[in-house]
Symmetry: C2
Subunit: 327 residues, 2 copies
Amino acid sequence: MPAAIHYQDVVAAAARIAPFCHRTQPVTSHLLDGIAGLRLVFKPENLQRTGSFKCRGATSAVAVLAAAGVRAVATHSAGNHGAALAFAARAHGLECHVVVPSTAPRVKQDAIEGYGARLVLCEPTLAARETTCAAVMDQTGAVLVPPYDHPDIMAGQGTIGLEMLEDTPDLDALVIPVGGGGLCAGVCIAARHLSPRIRLFGAEPLLADDARRSLAAGEIIPSTYPDTVADGLRTSVGELPFAILRTHLEDILTATEAEILAAMALIYTRLKLVVEPSGAVGLAAVLANQDRLGGLRVGIVLSGGNVDPSRLGEFFLSEPASRGRTL
Amino acid sequence: MPAAIHYQDVVAAAARIAPFCHRTQPVTSHLLDGIAGLRLVFKPENLQRTGSFKCRGATSAVAVLAAAGVRAVATHSAGNHGAALAFAARAHGLECHVVVPSTAPRVKQDAIEGYGARLVLCEPTLAARETTCAAVMDQTGAVLVPPYDHPDIMAGQGTIGLEMLEDTPDLDALVIPVGGGGLCAGVCIAARHLSPRIRLFGAEPLLADDARRSLAAGEIIPSTYPDTVADGLRTSVGELPFAILRTHLEDILTATEAEILAAMALIYTRLKLVVEPSGAVGLAAVLANQDRLGGLRVGIVLSGGNVDPSRLGEFFLSEPASRGRTL
């Protein structure tokens, strides 16, 4: 399958999103470099508008639809993509309907409504989400904007790779979280063009390593919706992203649940940044694979920061200080 | 009492600390502006080296001592000043001894040792801290660097005011947390010079409003070491800072414990920044006094971000989402 997007698509997306999304600034830490034995450059997409990188893809896609005369959009999303689509739709004057499982964190439901979208709650099953979303589209004429398996979405997320290589041209490697794969695929396309010899790695929770297993098998092996704390990475890799990941990724690095929470604690205590568990998977995978990255200057995407503060207690319950020291 | 420092002292301190401390960048949020009904500009000193503004004062003071031939410094500090002094001493090649109550959070003890200082644990009483510190100085010849009641410390903290007014010259008001008062005094001196008509407010927990009561009484009324969650602001205002606060502060705004934790939750969920409870007191005081600040562009110092992740659960236990909505 030919790649669904090319470098010029990412450049075009960058122009579309520039009026609406932040250009997040690289973050570094001598302390974390010391812990990792590497030179790390973080891309803090938790500081992106709507609190995650999803703002870029949604804005990229909605801008194209708005220019084509579409008046309403819809999606089913447990969180960050829903908030991002709501934000992008409002920015372009479109109606937005977001189908959300009734079990989604209140902080994410609030964010979606806060951006002016209509929230439609459904049972927490994929079947219920798809049925409800189809009914909403039928009633309202809204166009579906999927979370990752779409060229304009991938091109939007790819702007992160563009910015990382523009800001730090001498990066030797990138480590990018893989859920549906839209972020990782877009970043691969941009980074490979700007730095042909850069080493590109995905990052997954060991409990949700469907993309790693899919790459090994040469075909998509669907995720069984695993119970990782990194809830943004539970989804299966999509077809369009998968074709790009196969071409560009050297490997997918994994991290255990304990390693993800330890990395999250390091980001809180060392970078003073709020990330959600999925946002810490890149650093966790790097720290769990230091031997493979020795001496490199590594770019890591902190993908998002939307976490319900009342859940932080459970993430940091057991001796985070000693956890930090063992790394 | 004449002011212990003047604008030129702050300018001189800025030159001393520039090689060692970050110039933190202003942070804004449309979402928080909407909640506050104000235009807010945050100074994120949680992103300062050592995780708090104390880095500035300690570096300012140590640079002066190092130039005078001093070889070792000491202090007693439950946390941020201790870490800052350790950092500053190492940066200038000085020995550093920090007396810490044995009850201080592990994350802060780790930080002090991580910066290469000798940690001396003592009983958690002021008497024990002073006695132990005196013994350490006697044994080692170290010079005491106090946390706030010192001109070079105040001048160092004042660089925050310098930067805030340079970066955002049209600020109408500043709201600065008051513990010992060194930060607030330094910022007052710098801000008043650069913007003579700026309105200057302190911020205190209602449970620890000793500086407010002292200003009302015209003399220092010592704090009774109140049990506020904002542990960095439990101390009494110092003599040198007090003389400056009397001249420049329009008032000290207060916030309840619930308001401090609600503001902390907003900073986590909206700014995606990790702050310690004391670091949230400025925003809490602003939100509790919106009527007095209506329409103004208000600068708020986020003073620090050193919080033990394992304690976050207790800070955000009770329905942070609905807390946020009621503000």
